[in-house]
Symmetry: C2
Subunit: 295 residues, 2 copies
């Protein structure tokens, strides 16, 4: 997905928020916004928003020297999600369609995103989303939720590449991955995280902390942007990416980076901004399971 003009105000919002996360003084915060203002006339709208976000955060580092300003927040998210892991698992156990519930939860876990929303009530929001998603299923025609397709692709796939989004959300991914493994233990699942800090995106340390490595192979994509921008990925990752039978991509950032990819991908995310909602033709707040086929 290319960068829209509507993304520009949002870049300033994100930069300001990240500057504050880095404990920058007000003077430094202003300097960071001034610096960003200097970049705006030079940006290519052909780049995807995560590529832009990467440049912004790299520039910010020059002022704040904070390598990983979201580290504390990410660990909080991991802990918060782990605390409700048993409850979430019970929800799956009691569901009529276990895979469906695990899928719902994995998408709902995408509420943990400090990039787009700066406050969080996991319990409350989760309930709302699950209910909303029930309604979504009822009116499946109106909502993008390609579950049937997802289920059958999953059945066939031997190697699944699962692109992680945020820390904390990783716990929700673990539930879906464990469920997939329960269906067929022989499937190989590779859980790919970011190489270096990018907002609150999960790194290897988050994946391990959340126990994903019990049922999936954890690897880094080599990327230091808040989305899996293929041009920035490592060769090792690209091999896995092209050979995998199925790719599950979590979160808006990965969608923005990969929406024009040539290979088939299942995108799972909550639409958090008007630009993405317009791009996929849904409402803000909708949870989306979108299949994009081969180009």
């Amino acid at each position: 997905m290319k960068t829209y003009l509507d993304c520009i105000p949002c870049f300033f919002k994100q930069a300001l928020y990240s500057a504050r996360m880095s404990k920058a003084t007000k003077k430094t915060q202003k300097k960071i916004l001034d610096q960003l203002a200097g970049i705006i006339p030079k940006i290519s709208l052909e780049s995807s928003p995560p590529e832009m976000a990467r440049i912004i955060h790299k520039q910010m580092f020059k002022f704040t020297k904070q390598h990983d300003p979201y580290k504390k927040v990410k660990m909080q998210s991991n802990r918060m999600a782990l605390e409700i892991l048993d409850k979430l698992k019970a929800q799956v156990s009691h569901a009529r369609d276990r895979l469906l519930m695990a899928t719902k939860l994995a998408i709902a876990g995408n509420i943990i995103d400090y990039g787009a929303k700066h406050s969080l009530d996991v319990g409350g929001e989760l309930k709302k989303i699950i209910n909303q998603e029930n309604k979504a299923i009822q009116k499946e025609n109106k909502i993008i939720f390609n579950y049937g397709h997802f289920k059958s692709a999953l059945k066939r796939a031997k190697t699944i590449l699962y692109l992680a989004d945020n820390a904390g959300e990783t716990v929700f991914d673990r539930i879906l991955i464990e469920e997939i493994k329960k269906i067929d233990n022989k499937k190989e699942i590779i859980y790919a995280v970011k190489e270096k800090p990018a907002i609150n995106d999960a790194l290897v340390e988050d994946a391990l902390f959340c126990g994903i490595d019990r049922s999936a192979k954890v690897m880094s994509s080599g990327v230091d942007a808040p989305g899996t921008v293929l041009e920035l990925c490592s060769k090792d990752f690209l091999k896995v990416y092209s050979r995998a039978d199925m790719v599950i991509s979590k979160g808006q950032g990965n969608f923005e980076a990969l929406s024009s990819a040539k290979r088939p991908i299942f995108f799972m995310f909550m639409a958090k901004c008007p630009v993405v909602a317009r791009e996929v033709n849904c409402q803000i707040g909708n949870i989306v399971l979108l299949y994009k086929g081969k180009k």
Copy 2:
């Protein structure tokens, strides 16, 4: 009120929205944002947001040559509000405290603001706000609604300066002004609008179209910013401003421009952005009747 760093993303949002209202091409929209980016490092955060908005819109004019991009929208708002005038009047007639209801409606009319919110469902929103305000009165300590003070100041005042905000909202103001005149026909009410187009702020033509001149004297403040910035006001207006027994200031823009004014002012607005909500210590969406005394 000074400009906060949080206002900067919003300036870009407003500029983009206004550029689209001016039917600027995408290329011109980008140029306008680039131009704004060039201004950011030079702005003084000591200026109020309406002063900044004025500069942005003046720059925009250079590209779009659109003197009054919101003209059509303003007339739509005027017509839309006039259509429900009788209903609104009936609401006042049936109220136990007529003045309170008219005051509520005048504040609720502040939903008509394309500067802060870009879609509008007057009927629905109004109902919500009126109910919210009922709740607000019940918990008066938690909500800023200095109605008692407002009522007694109104009783004493012989000359009242009423600072208009948006087109359309003017109809709601008319209801309050007519109610004040019903209580005491001898009160002199001056309804001050902006001199030149500033977003969707009411001009003399809007005030006349909405029939305010039946019960108030309509004048221009001399200002071409979306807030009554005293430094930009005409001498005639400043005379009225300093001599009036009471000043009623409508909308966020006027609050932002006058919150540090030396004379007592009653501010009426709906809090539409986190910065203003924090400034007055309320929630976004709250309707506010705030008295600020002599400094």
